[in-house]
């Protein structure tokens, strides 16, 4: 009896059964997926949220009770202080000024890198000159020589050029980029050669071809590299610390440390302000990524050709 029942039901509702059986494990994995995702979100966002909530308390509370999870009510006061209060040794540097310095460094770093590496890649891919491949690999090997390795000679050069405590001294020594050159080289190589030939027949010279054809085609690629490089530039710490001694050139990232350090002594460190500054320092890179996110992914996965 039981056997026939199973048989008949398998016959009549075989398809629906298979479908629902298919569905159940899929829903299970869906829930599992979301649990994993939420864990990831918690892990990544947790510290930031705690840092933010803590920054709304006053520093005495933080010193006494540690990190806070609630809303401290000191939000406006703290952030106003961080942005506008003149601090530092000379008492002339504000959070706003440091934000501005960071922006100059981040933008100069990213734009400079894009310009230099695009031009280098253009030369390597489209012009036949002696040792072209060799020079590419020389550029490429500079990946093995990050700033930290060559910091003394770099400092020496910048110092001798009289570029200490200038924006150009902060930015220019950093803008040569092997990674950028490599990315653009790969991209240019994937642009069909016929485009260049068509442009030649259309009477476009090397500069025109670069400007009229290659630059517009590279837009998404440029956006992707801009995001990466802006964040890297914004987060520079070691190089600005060496290059600039005047507080008027301090960046946000350095400012955080400054707040913590200057208060050490009899006073309680202004934990809340340091945390608030960290929040501020995180904001622009996050905004850049949110705004350019779509172009970023487009630049990495597809090319408009």
């Amino acid at each position: 009896m039981a056997v026939t029942e199973i048989d008949s039901s398998a016959e009549t509702s075989g398809t629906t059964k298979a479908a629902s059986a298919d569905n159940r494990p899929r829903r299970k994995t869906k829930i599992f997926d979301h649990v994993v995702l939420w864990l990831g979100v918690l892990l990544m966002m947790g510290p930031i949220i705690v840092a933010f909530t803590t920054s709304t308390f006053d520093h005495v509370t933080i010193h006494r009770e540690g990190m806070q999870f609630g809303w401290g009510g000191e939000f406006v006061e703290t952030y106003k202080n961080v942005l506008y209060q003149e601090g530092g040794f000379t008492g002339e540097v504000t959070g706003l000024l440091m934000t501005q310095n960071s922006l100059i460094l981040g933008l100069g770093f990213a734009i400079g890198k894009i310009v230099v590496s695009m031009l280098a890649a253009y030369a390597i891919v489209y012009f036949r000159f002696p040792l072209a491949t060799f020079s590419f690999w020389v550029i490429f090997t500079t990946l093995l020589l990050p700033l930290e390795v060559r910091i003394l000679p770099s400092y020496e050069v910048v110092q001798q050029l009289g570029m200490l405590n200038t924006y150009s001294g902060l930015i220019i020594p950093l803008i040569a980029s092997a990674t950028g050159t490599f990315f653009f080289r790969q991209f240019f190589k994937s642009v069909p050669n016929e485009l260049m030939e068509a442009a030649r027949i259309d009477g476009a010279g090397p500069v025109q071809f670069f400007w009229d054809i290659l630059v517009p085609l590279s837009k998404t690629m440029m956006a992707a590299i801009f995001i990466i490089m802006f964040v890297v530039g914004w987060n520079q710490y070691l190089w600005p610390t060496l290059m600039t001694t005047e507080e008027g050139y301090f960046t946000l990232v350095r400012g955080i440390r400054n707040i913590m350090q200057q208060m050490i002594g009899a006073d309680i460190p202004e934990y809340n302000e340091a945390l608030a500054m960290a929040m501020l320092a995180m904001l622009p890179p996050a905004l850049v990524i949110i705004i350019f996110q779509r172009m970023f992914i487009k630049g990495l996965v597809e090319q408009e050709k």
Binding site: R200, I201, D202, E304
Partner: protein, 347 residues
């Protein structure tokens, strides 16, 4: 008058390989010349030498009476249509058409007029403000031709322009290219590996093989009087049948069979005949073919068989009854071809 004269053009790459080994071709005014040959025969290289995209190692390229060997492509008064169209993907169709004129410093009202004209001529007026990615293959092909037309070149260069299209569209565009070229009455070189395209489009065909010219002639000449065995087997589908034989005293001997041949030549030859130019006579005499496979193609059928050790193919009208077992072939005098077995040249 002659638009283009290629004199003994040689292309040698730095590694010593020769892609074009001394080719001379003339293109007359308003003439459409097709370069045809298998891949790697140097036809595209030759075209690119005319365009100025490849340097000429030796020889001369003369366009409208002016040697252009050392001129930039833009200064040669040529226009080229590429296989993959090579449209600028970020520019609208209008800008694609106008780009070359703009670079030449043409006044903008003249550019507008020419672009509109070309758009109307090619029926792409309604797409002028779209990007190439929003167009179909055939439309892109038209835009690529439009880009060539607006420049009023002395000669059009087509580099396998139809090979990215599907078969139906290819036939249609082929006809349009021919019409357009007739209407503009401008000389053109058309490179293809497709012998059907070559036969249908060309005023004259240049058959290239291995960097050298095998034959230059009208489609009819190339088809009915191939200069070499290469041309004989390359032009025509299915290709010409080639069978080794022996010629002596006006008689051609193939195996046991012999037939009279009006030729003073003597010694070993390669005998050729076109599949569609053989008669099957019911008589007992003729070239005996052992029948193998028969392919029905609707309008006609292809009969594959053997003469001795050699495969031959014969085409037959499908209305005739299919032969069986063995058939006897006879030929008209003008449909037989004799080639030197060593050099492949016609005798």
């Amino acid at each position: 008058m002659t638009t283009l004269r290629i004199r003994n053009a040689i292309k040698q790459y730095p590694n010593g390989a020769q892609a074009v080994k001394g080719v001379s071709v003339d293109v007359e005014d308003g003439e459409l010349v097709v370069f045809v040959g298998p891949s790697g025969c140097g036809k595209s290289t030759l075209l690119r030498m005319v365009a100025g995209l490849e340097e000429v190692t030796d020889g001369e390229i003369e366009l409208n009476g002016r040697v252009v060997n050392n001129l930039e492509p833009a200064d040669r008064n040529i226009a080229m249509v590429f296989q993959n169209y090579a449209l600028y993907p970020h520019m609208s169709v209008r800008k694609n058409l106008a780009y070359g004129l703009k670079n030449r410093g043409t006044p903008s009202d003249e550019i507008d007029r020419k672009v509109e004209e070309a758009g109307a001529l090619l029926q792409i007026s309604e797409f002028l403000d779209r990007k190439p990615s929003q167009l179909s293959g055939g439309q892109r092909q038209r835009v690529a031709m439009g880009r060539a037309i607006v420049r009023n070149p002395a000669i059009f260069l087509f580099d396998e322009p139809l090979s990215n299209l599907d078969a139906k569209l290819r036939n249609q565009m082929r006809l349009e290219i021919k019409k357009l070229q007739r209407r503009l009455d401008t000389a053109a070189i058309y490179v293809t590996h497709d012998q059907v395209e070559a036969m249908t489009l060309a005023d004259r065909i240049v058959v290239l093989n291995n960097g050298m010219v095998e034959q230059i002639g009208t489609p009819t000449e190339v088809y009915s009087r191939p200069a070499t065995t290469f041309v004989a087997s390359f032009i025509g589908a299915p290709p010409m049948n080639l069978i080794p034989g022996e010629l002596s005293k006006g008689q051609l001997h193939i195996g046991a069979h012999s037939m009279p041949m009006n030729s003073a030549h003597a010694g070993p030859v390669t005998f050729g005949f076109r599949p569609e130019r053989a008669h099957m006579n019911g008589a007992a005499s003729g070239l005996a073919v052992e029948i193998g496979v028969i392919e029905e193609l609707g309008a006609h059928r292809l009969i594959h068989g053997r003469v001795g050790d050699h495969e031959v193919t014969v085409a037959q009208d499908a209305e005739l009854p299919p032969p069986d077992g063995r058939m006897m072939l006879a030929f008209n005098e003008q449909d037989t071809h004799l080639f030197d077995p060593d050099t492949g040249a016609r005798v």
